[in-house]
Amino acid sequence: MSMTNVERLREFARPDRVFDFMAPADSPVDVRHGPILYLEDVSVSFDGFKAIDDLNLTIDDGELRCIIGPNGAGKTTMMDIITGKTRPDRGQAWFGSRHNLLQMDEPQIANLGIGRKFQKPTVFEALSVSANLELAMVGDRRVWKTLLARLDHEGRERIDEIMETIGLSAERDRLAGVLSHGQKQWLEIGMLLMQRPRLLLVDEPVAGMTEPEMHRTAELMTRLAGQQSVVVVEHDMGFVRSIARTVTVLDQGSVLAEGSMDEVANDPRVIEVYLGGDEASDVREET
């Protein structure tokens, strides 16, 4: 309110706010006025049971956010809402400041740039590792274009590069169905990367991974953040601690605490929630 008229005018005339084409290239997402993901007062209930209850969550562009919470806290349901699988009963969900996620369906949201890894690794078991990656590669998804699509040189290089990143180069022609659990997790992460999303939602990426695999995942997640925004749901506290900057604790469908790992781990309410649960010792063990 204390802005002078001149300031107000200058603010109004800022070229990047007036002209849409000055927004960051190659993404329709508008993050100039704030967060990349914005959930407000979201609620959803299944047969009267409130799985998400007045949830508020804001993810900044380029942020790496960890979300923890006991079983049934609503972490996966939250991802279902963001990706269009579940419609909330109430609330708002915005991707950048321009896209109302509640008016879009799964493919639209995916093509806008939100990628998702499922809690239970889901890869296309009857297809080879490289075919899995090829299907996930950004491109024209229309039926006719897909029928005529040929893998070009650039695409092949991209697949090789991602296969290198996820350590599956030696498995390129194997069927995804015969991979180990950890390898399937990696393949699914690789498919996410092929999509080049702006926002990655990663549900329990290290479940079933060995210690070294876990370290590599942690490294990858940290590397991704900055260029992309990453939201990681994970139960493994060691893993969360190794990558976390900001941690959000969900409980009974709403945010219980938010802050650095140390802050939330010492929060009495968080300790209370985890008391008795398996994770209780995990949280304190790390503090």
Partner: protein, 350 residues
């Protein structure tokens, strides 16, 4: 042998199966034509009725191919493909009757072959488009989809039984004389229809092979195995399903159109729910998601049916049901699966 080399062999096998199937089809067709051309007193001579019977098998094989395309690769079990087959058949039937005496004034337009030919693919295609759009958009899947396809074909059977439809009621359309100006009764017409059916099977086989080997084909298999995942990587699953479903219905329509002049009749019994189920049994027996399995299954089951209905007609349904149970329990991949396993075993031994 590592799994990686096994996969490579599998895709080679796939290549090879395409070659083998094409060659078998072509050689088989040529053989029939040559044997028919032998003088009638020759021991190996095939008479016109046998050629027509084989031509009918070919149209069934074409129908089985259509079912395998959506069931094998996309996991959509249609128990109503007989409806698309019958619609193609009725379009041909209308063309044939319109040559002499159309049953209603509007049917005179069907006397023009190009119009009739369009109707043979567009009628089933449009029905599949509308029906599929409604079903896939509301995400009807699995057994629910199968049940409504049964309802669809049943409803059409009732409709085509009504005389008000001007489709010949329960008698259907029959007493055909000429196709494209040539008499249907002639032997050379039998051969021509047989060859046309064979060529249609061959073209459809190559077409389906091309679709299933394309990226779209891989999206289909991915949808069959993990539909939600496909949506989350950005493919509009309902459009993929709709496109392949319509293509499959059109192939079924062509099969029906080729079937009618060879059997000389089309009536509402082709819409019977049981017929559509039989088609699925052919594909299950031959083996899903291989295409050549569907061709093989349709041929073998229908040959058995011809043999058996001559000897004891009442036993056929029991045998068919029994075959289906045995196959689902012991040979989930059908005959094609057994062949693939034998080949693999031989290669391991070698």
């Amino acid at each position: 042998m590592s799994l990686a080399t096994m996969f490579k062999r599998n895709s080679l096998l796939d290549e090879r199966s395409t070659w083998i199937t094409s060659i078998v089809l072509i050689v088989g067709m040529l053989a029939v034509v040559v044997l028919h051309a032998l003088p009638p007193e020759h021991a190996w001579h095939l008479n016109g009725s046998v050629v027509t019977l084989l031509g009918k098998y070919l149209t069934y094989m074409l129908l089985a191919l259509a079912v395998d395309l959506i069931w094998g690769y996309l996991g959509i079990l249609s128990l109503g493909h007989g409806a698309f087959f019958a619609l193609g058949g009725y379009a041909m039937g209308l063309y044939l009757t319109a040559q002499q005496a159309p049953l209603a004034p509007w049917q005179t337009v069907m006397a023009h072959f190009p119009v009739a030919a369009l109707a043979m693919v567009l009628a089933p295609g449009l029905l599949a488009l509308v029906f599929g759009w409604l079903a896939f958009r509301s995400r009807v899947t699995g057994v629910y989809f199968s049940i409504i396809t049964q309802a669809l074909t049943f409803a059409l059977m009732l409709a085509f039984n009504r005389n008000e439809m001007d489709m010949g009621g329960s008698t259907g359309l029959t007493r055909f004389d000429e196709l494209l100006g040539f008499s249907l009764a002639s032997e050379s017409m039998s051969v021509a229809l047989f060859v046309a059916s064979g060529v249609a099977v061959l073209l459809a086989f190559w077409g389906c092979k091309a679709v299933t080997r394309s990226r779209l084909g891989r999206v289909c298999m991915a949808t069959r195995d993990a539909e939600a995942r496909v949506r989350f990587i950005g493919y509009r699953v309902e459009h993929v399903k709709l496109a392949v479903f319509v293509l499959s219905a059109m192939i079924a329509g062509i099969a029906g159109a080729l079937y009618v002049p060879q059997v000389g009749i089309i009536n509402p019994s082709t819409f019977a729910p049981l017929f559509s189920i039989e088609v699925v049994v052919w594909v299950a027996l031959g083996g899903r998601a291989t295409l050549y399995g569907a061709l093989l299954g349709a041929l073998v089951v229908n040959y058995l049916k011809t043999l058996l209905t001559g000897v004891m007609p009442d036993a056929w349904l029991f045998l068919l049901g029994g075959l289906f149970v045995v196959v689902t329990m012991f040979l989930p991949q059908g005959v094609a699966g057994v062949l693939a396993r034998l080949r693999r075993r031989r290669e391991v031994a070698a």
